[in-house]
């Protein structure tokens, strides 16, 4: 016995108590003489009891703690990102200008090594580290395109925030993280990164972080005191990343750099 196609949806809604009075009366009248539809209705009921046998499940142990952990992590990343954003824009804009200037200068003053060295080494490189090469077009255009991508994401987020579109807004979860962050308390790192002309991404009481191109990250990995895990991560860098240098370590570097001078004065 077969059920009538035109009544299938009505039977399903009837089983759910979702028909209005008129619809229900019409269906009941039809059911009176259609065995196929009566059978279909009974199958819907069987299906319903099968569902009823499925138990409600307990969430796994520690579920809420894990959600809260993720919430806190997202909160920290967002704060850092928001605070640093104008600074990053300014830094990248400056880099693009420098890059453009270097690109114009180099072919003309190709033999003038001093000019390119000045651009490449904003400060003196610490001893034992190879002198940094002049920035090439690739590394900085790379920076620029990444920032453009980031800016587009930001715009997208703002757009989502304007209207109640929870569905779209909630799907941004996977793009929340911006750059990989590597934390270091290696004294030479801050000095090295400034010397390589890496932009300061953020600065707080506790740390200074730099936006680092992969080439510089790989060189940074070779500093003597970088712990093995961070060293491996730095060596594998294939995208822009943030290197966070603990402020205490940065200050130590500054102090230790000053101390010999003081000694000299005293000795002198």
């Amino acid at each position: 016995m077969k059920c009538c196609e035109k009544y299938t949806a009505a039977l399903s809604a009837f089983a759910d108590g979702e028909l209005n009075e008129t619809e229900r009366d019409a269906l009941l009248e039809h059911l009176e003489h259609c065995e196929g539809c009566r059978e279909h209705l009974s199958e819907l009921m069987i299906l319903h009891t099968m569902f009823e046998e499925l138990p409600e499940l307990d969430a796994p142990q520690g579920f809420s703690e894990r959600v809260l952990d993720r919430m806190h992590a997202e909160g920290r990343a967002k704060k850092r990102h928001r605070r640093a954003w104008p600074r990053v824009l300014a830094a990248c804009f400056a880099l693009v200008l420098i890059s453009a200037a270097a690109w114009k200068l180099l072919p003309v003053r190709g033999n003038d090594c001093a000019a390119s060295d000045d651009i490449g080494n904003a400060g003196a490189a610490p001893s034992g580290i190879a002198a940094a090469p002049a920035p090439d077009e690739d590394s900085y255009s790379y920076t620029y395109t990444t920032v453009q991508k980031d800016s587009a994401q930001e715009d997208e987020e703002d757009k989502k925030a304007d209207s109640y579109s929870a569905e779209a807004g909630d799907r941004s979860a996977d793009t929340a993280g911006d750059y990989a962050i590597i934390a270091l308390d290696t004294p030479d790192a801050a000095e090295f990164l400034s010397a390589r002309g890496m932009a300061v991404y953020d600065e707080t009481e506790d740390y200074v972080s730099y936006l680092v191109v992969p080439e510089a990250a790989r060189e940074l990995a070779e500093l003597p005191d970088v712990p093995e895990t961070e060293r491996a991560a730095l060596r594998e860098a294939s995208d822009l990343l943030i290197v966070e240098v603990a402020k205490a370590a940065a200050d130590e570097t500054a102090e230790s750099a000053e101390e010999p001078g003081v000694e000299e004065e005293v000795n002198g």
Partner: protein, 203 residues
């Protein structure tokens, strides 16, 4: 604390309120996610995503629907997103999850009853996973979470008529799957056909 108070506290970024909300809804959300994803690992990830989506979007929640309807919507979306990311097929359900479908609270059923129960639940689980996610989520919201058609329409942003036809279509697909795989229904093929005119005119 009523729902309005809870929402107000969430909107003022009260973490304790968020924790309370998780505890209130974690069973329902997790159950929905297990039924949608077919395995516990993905289900937990999707359930976490749903709660975080709620936390991120709570400022934009305008209370046109109830909080629970919104949570179901976020959970169903999180599952569909995750399934798309993983591009998982129905064949990838882990058998380890089978015990999740037998009610541990059931007062000591006889061995043969337990076996039957397991068989029914396994078939239903496989049947659900055989459905396109859009049909699966709508059937879960109706049959497991017990939402009304208008609540489902709000949760899935669909017209009421679409909800009605999708539930019906989903049930027919599920019924056909079960008749093939588990001898639950009489015929393998869909028994739905054009209305028998003789039957219609016989009054």
């Amino acid at each position: 604390m009523n729902e309005k108070e809870l929402i107000a506290r969430l909107q003022s970024r009260d973490e304790a309120a968020f924790e309370e909300l998780i505890r209130l809804y974690e069973k329902k959300v997790y159950t929905l996610c297990v039924r949608m994803c077919g395995n516990t690992e993905d289900a937990e990830e999707a359930a976490q995503d749903a709660f975080l989506a709620l936390w991120r979007g709570i400022d934009r929640f305008r209370q046109e629907s109830s909080l629970s309807t919104w949570i179901y919507r976020l959970a169903a979306n999180a599952c569909i997103d995750l399934l798309r990311r993983r591009k998982k097929s129905a064949g990838s359900i882990s058998l380890d999850d089978e015990e999740l479908f037998v009610d541990a609270q059931d007062p000591s059923p006889q061995p043969h009853e337990l076996a039957e129960q397991r068989e029914t639940q396994r078939a239903l689980r496989e049947g659900l996973m055989s459905l396109p996610p859009e049909y699966r989520s709508i059937l879960i919201l109706r049959e497991i979470e017990g939402l009304s058609y208008s609540e489902i329409a709000a949760a899935q942003e669909l017209e009421l008529g679409t909800v009605k036809s999708r539930i019906s279509r989903g049930r027919t697909l599920l019924r056909n799957f079960l008749s093939v795989s588990g001898n639950f229904f009489e015929n393998a093929a869909s028994k739905v056909t054009e209305c028998n005119r003789e039957g219609m005119s016989a009054k």
